[in-house]
């Protein structure tokens, strides 16, 4: 998230014009952004520490002052007045401008960092990177990079816009606690801890950022770096693996994927704070849902294939590099995991029944292909699995998914497609957690009897584009793989119809209905609408 657009990415909470204090605070934030931009063409930055502090302070104070002025003097409650009247939040000209600026920022960051002041190896960095040097030296003892600049701005965005969000939703404790959580994880886990690790000469590690969202976790250099860093490095490696295969499934079972996507994750954190003014822009059509399912699961398959191929290539043959994990063992693990998935499907046929044919055949085809490739690789003993060279594959993934999808489109398109484009259509982590949530979680959004008036606030403000109303008006619980549990649907509901709950276990045969794994969770009791036994469905 670029701060050059920070002052603009705030929706006016009321229709009409801004008042004096609002204008003044916005101007202050804009001044801070300008102070950052001025450094761009400069070779050396005089009083960089003071300059940077002043600029960031101006931005933070400006945003907080604006938020204070906008919300604090009005009674606590839903603040969506004028959202669809404002050019910025209704895909107007302002939205286009901000979208272009944000997109441009990401293009420069990923592909033209020299314009930010990145110099050739050995040469001193200039421009905005040099401006951030004092802070980087203070934290890690190393000079700043473009990623440090980005990380700092990202953190400032989540902290300042998070505070704004808290003011906006101060009547809703779930929103307040959840936002404090994403602010904490961004500041501590994504920003400070990695810098401190660097100060201690330990490898960079963001503990909460797990594979496959963190697609470089299993990269040759990362694994080697962790292994070379002694006991703590090994701990980080094992913790990363445990996060994927142990910690995240357990937490998702109890709380749904929200524990990650709207409480911990950095992408989610930005979406929930800086992206909040744009949540209503997500596409709610059935068609978009179809596209979403194909795209996000394709990215997941891409990520898995890429990672498996990568690991396979850099592992030697049996004991070749003296490393305990060998190609044979990796193939064994792949077969075991797939076998495990197959076994679950056999034990729980109800789950398969709920999938439609296309999905079922697609999944079977993918499983068969992977097993086939694996077997072929094992028999021929080549260094590539899936017939593709792993490093170009990894590079393509990093470019197409890592940079373009998650950054340029994911954040750059906030003002056009809503704040969760990446999370909804692209994030492989969200896909994994989504499957767990759909089939194995206690989490659901329950609906309150017959109180729904089909108004559409829930659907409109669902950043994931879930047509919440279509369930609520039928009195059906909402169990959707994409739901990140942000709780806004329940917050904006004017009739108290929706509630995020961790209900009884879907795995417990006594708790749900006998019809299948999920049906007990999806279909609530018949709605009380009058005549006994009459239901809305």
């Amino acid at each position: 998230m670029s701060h050059s657009d920070h002052s603009l990415s705030i929706a006016a909470p009321h229709s009409g014009t801004l008042d004096g204090p609002q204008k003044a605070t916005l101007a202050l934030a804009a001044l801070g952004v300008l102070a950052l931009l001025v450094s761009l063409p400069m070779d050396t930055i005089p009083h960089a520490g003071l300059w940077l502090t002043g600029a960031l302070l101006a931005i933070v104070v400006g945003v907080l002052g604006y938020a204070w002025r906008s919300y604090a003097h009005h009674p606590a409650g839903i603040k969506n007045n004028g959202v669809w009247h404002s050019s910025l939040t209704s895909r107007g000209a302002m939205a286009l401008v901000v979208g272009v600026l944000l997109t441009g920022f990401y293009v420069v960051l990923y592909f033209y960092p020299q314009y930010l002041g990145l110099a050739a190896e050995g040469k001193a960095k200039t421009g905005i990177i040099a401006l951030f040097n004092p802070l980087s030296m203070l934290l890690s003892g190393n000079p700043a990079s473009q990623w440090f600049v980005y990380g700092t701005l990202y953190t400032v965005a989540i902290l300042s816009m998070g505070t704004k969000f808290i003011l906006k939703y101060r009547h809703n404790k779930y929103e307040v606690v959840r936002t404090l959580s994403v602010m904490f994880f961004q500041l501590g886990f994504a920003f400070l801890i990695p810098e401190l690790l660097a100060r201690l000469s330990l490898p960079y590690n963001d503990f909460k950022n797990m594979w496959p969202l963190n697609y470089s976790f299993f990269d040759d250099w990362n694994v080697k770096g962790l292994l070379d860093a002694g006991g703590f490095g090994l701990f980080m490696l094992l913790f990363g693996v445990a996060m994927i295969f142990l910690i995240s499934p357990i937490l998702t079972y109890f709380y749904g994927k929200r524990w990650y996507c709207s409480w911990v994750c950095g992408c989610g954190g930005l979406a929930e704070t800086a992206g909040d003014p744009f949540r209503q822009l997500s596409d709610k059509s059935e068609k978009a849902w179809k596209v979403e399912r194909w795209v996000i699961h394709s990215v997941l398959v891409f990520a898995v294939v890429m990672t498996a191929a990568l690991i396979y290539s850099y592992l030697g043959g049996d004991s070749a590099k003296g490393f305990w994990l060998t190609r044979g063992m990796l193939l064994g693990i792949i077969v075991l995991v797939l076998g495990g998935v197959g076994a679950v499907l056999l034990i729980r046929p109800g789950m398969v029944k709920e999938l439609n044919n296309k999905v079922r055949y697609g999944a079977i085809a993918i499983l068969a292909a992977i097993i086939g490739f694996t077997a072929y690789a094992y028999i021929t003993g080549g260094s590539d699995i899936f017939f593709v060279e792993s490093y170009p594959l990894r590079k393509t993934y990093g470019f197409a998914i890592g940079a373009i999808f998650s950054g340029v489109v994911g954040v750059g398109f906030y003002p056009l497609m809503g704040s969760r484009v990446w999370c909804r259509f692209g994030c492989p982590m969200a896909a994994v957690l989504g499957m767990q949530q759909r089939f194995f979680s206690r989490f659901r959004i329950t609906t309150n009897g017959g109180q729904c008036i089909s108004c559409g606030n829930c659907s409109t403000y669902c950043e994931m584009g879930i047509d919440v109303r279509s369930y609520a008006q039928r009195g059906e619980n909402i169990v959707r793989s994409s739901c990140v549990g942000c709780g806004i649907c329940a917050a904006v509901c004017p009739r108290g119809v929706l509630k995020l709950e961790n209900g009884p276990s879907p795995l417990n045969p006594l708790s749900g209905s006998a019809r299948g794994l999920v049906s007990g969770r999806v279909s609530s009791d018949p709605i009380a609408i009058g005549k006994t036994g009459a239901t809305l469905r």
């Binding site: 404790k173 004017p494 995020l500």
Partner: protein, 433 residues
């Protein structure tokens, strides 16, 4: 029966619910005639379009392809006449629809009590999509407005206008807000909240006349006490009445204030039914209720009931336990069972209010048997199923208070209001015991 041609006049919640349920249960040929809009929208959400929370397309509960997919034909037209002997509906565009079964679901119209100046530009009610469009035009650039009313629509109008920073003076005939329905404690709570939002409320104040300016638009109102209040807009929200004026020409269908029906929602003419706001029961199946019910939820129930009847399962309208909900600016309201504005014979009550002055719970029960009668809840979400079951099972108020946590529906981390309610209830019981 599966080849029946069913024509439904009105595409609001009643008519559309009927159409959907008929489709679920049969292959009948369904045509819905709607005059306001091509597609069904949520009437209760119109205010959010004006306030900028949603666009019109967002308040349509079904995507436009839904209707064709479910073989529900839509006709965007006005009915000019019904010929019950030929079983034919004439449309204003010259077309006619023949039917085997007819459902009348034409909803309501705003009341106008014949005030001088009530038809001036800038004076209007709020019910239809066209009303919201008019309100958009009528409130452009104005500084102040007067609302006449004292019920749900008037407070909606006040909220809408306040989002545009228009000063609102609210004339209420009774001496409390929504005095015919709400007990005084709740009325005061909402009154305070409206004042917090900058609404100027004037009780026991009635409209005498709307005054025109030189431009022919509204300039001010004069109250019965002779006071003149300058304003650029007047919202008349003094209730609604069944929209049946258009039906008077089709004299065969009996009407009074609304289309008269029996408990099976049948009119006096065979194969002609009526549901929703436009209905007046000869005698309501639930003696506690009025013969005209203008509520979203009852319209929906009537739609489902008539769908059963038309698909072979003749059903009586049985709305069960009364419930309703609303939102007054930031404060949500839910009610289950009966809490009247004044205690009925033999009733007693417990009113609890949070120190924040915005959260409250009002329990009413029979003093002698302790049988629970109903609850009003403000800023505290309650589970419908739980209260519905308690009221059906005739539990005591003590049972309700003891198990109140089972009915709590507030989001996670919210203050547990049921604890405070229980504590205050028990403290009071001890005192009286």
């Amino acid at each position: 029966m599966s080849n029946d041609r069913i024509v439904i006049i009105g595409n609001g919640i009643s008519g559309i619910t009927a159409a959907r349920h008929i489709r679920k249960r049969s292959d009948a040929k369904i045509t819905v005639v709607g005059k306001e809009s091509e597609h069904f929208f949520s009437r209760t959400a119109l205010m959010y379009v004006y306030m900028g929370h949603m666009r019109f397309q967002d308040i349509k509960p079904y995507e436009d392809h839904f209707w064709e997919k479910n073989r529900i034909a839509l006709k965007h037209a006005t009915v000019s006449r019904i010929d019950t002997s030929l079983k034919r509906v004439d449309l204003s565009d010259g077309f006619a629809l023949e039917y085997d079964k007819l459902i009348i679901a034409t909803g309501s119209e705003s009341n106008m009590f014949g005030w001088p100046g009530q038809h001036l530009p800038g004076v209007q009610g709020l019910y239809s999509l066209q009303d919201v469009e008019a309100m958009e035009a009528n409130t452009k650039g104005i500084q102040s407005a007067v609302i006449v009313g004292g019920g749900l629509i008037s407070v909606e109008m006040a909220e809408m206008l306040r989002t545009r920073n228009i000063a609102v003076t609210f004339l209420v005939r009774e001496n409390t807000f929504w005095g015919g329905i709400l007990p005084k404690q709740e009325a005061d709570l909402i009154t305070r909240h409206m004042r917090e939002h900058g609404v100027e409320l004037r009780f026991t104040t009635e409209l005498e006349e709307v005054l025109a300016g030189a431009d022919g638009r509204v300039r001010a109102v004069r109250t019965k006490s002779g006071e003149e209040l300058p304003c650029g807009f007047v919202g008349l929200a003094v209730g609604v009445h069944p929209n049946i004026a258009w039906l008077k020409e089709s004299a065969t269908i009996k009407t009074d204030k609304g289309v008269l029906v029996n408990e099976h929602l049948e009119t006096n003419v065979p194969d002609v039914f009526a549901i929703g706001d436009c209905v007046e029961f000869h005698k309501h199946p639930d003696p506690q209720r009025r013969n005209i019910e203008q509520v979203w939820y009852t319209g929906r129930m009537m739609g489902e009931t008539v769908a059963r009847t038309l698909t072979g399962e003749r059903s009586a309208y049985d709305p069960g336990i009364w419930f309703n909900s609303a939102k007054f600016f930031d404060i949500e309201y839910q009610t289950y069972g009966w809490v009247r504005n004044k205690l009925q014979d033999g009733e007693t009550e417990h009113y609890w209010e949070h120190p924040n002055g915005k959260t409250a719970l009002h329990l009413v029960w029979n003093a002698e048997s302790r049988k629970f009668h109903g609850v009003n809840s403000f800023g505290f979400r309650l589970r419908h199923e739980v209260f519905d079951r308690w009221l059906r099972e005739n539990v005591t108020v003590d049972h309700v208070v003891k198990h109140l946590h089972k009915a709590a529906f507030d989001p996670e981390f919210f203050e547990r209001m049921e604890l405070a309610v229980r504590a205050s209830f028990n403290a009071k019981s001890k005192v009286t015991a």
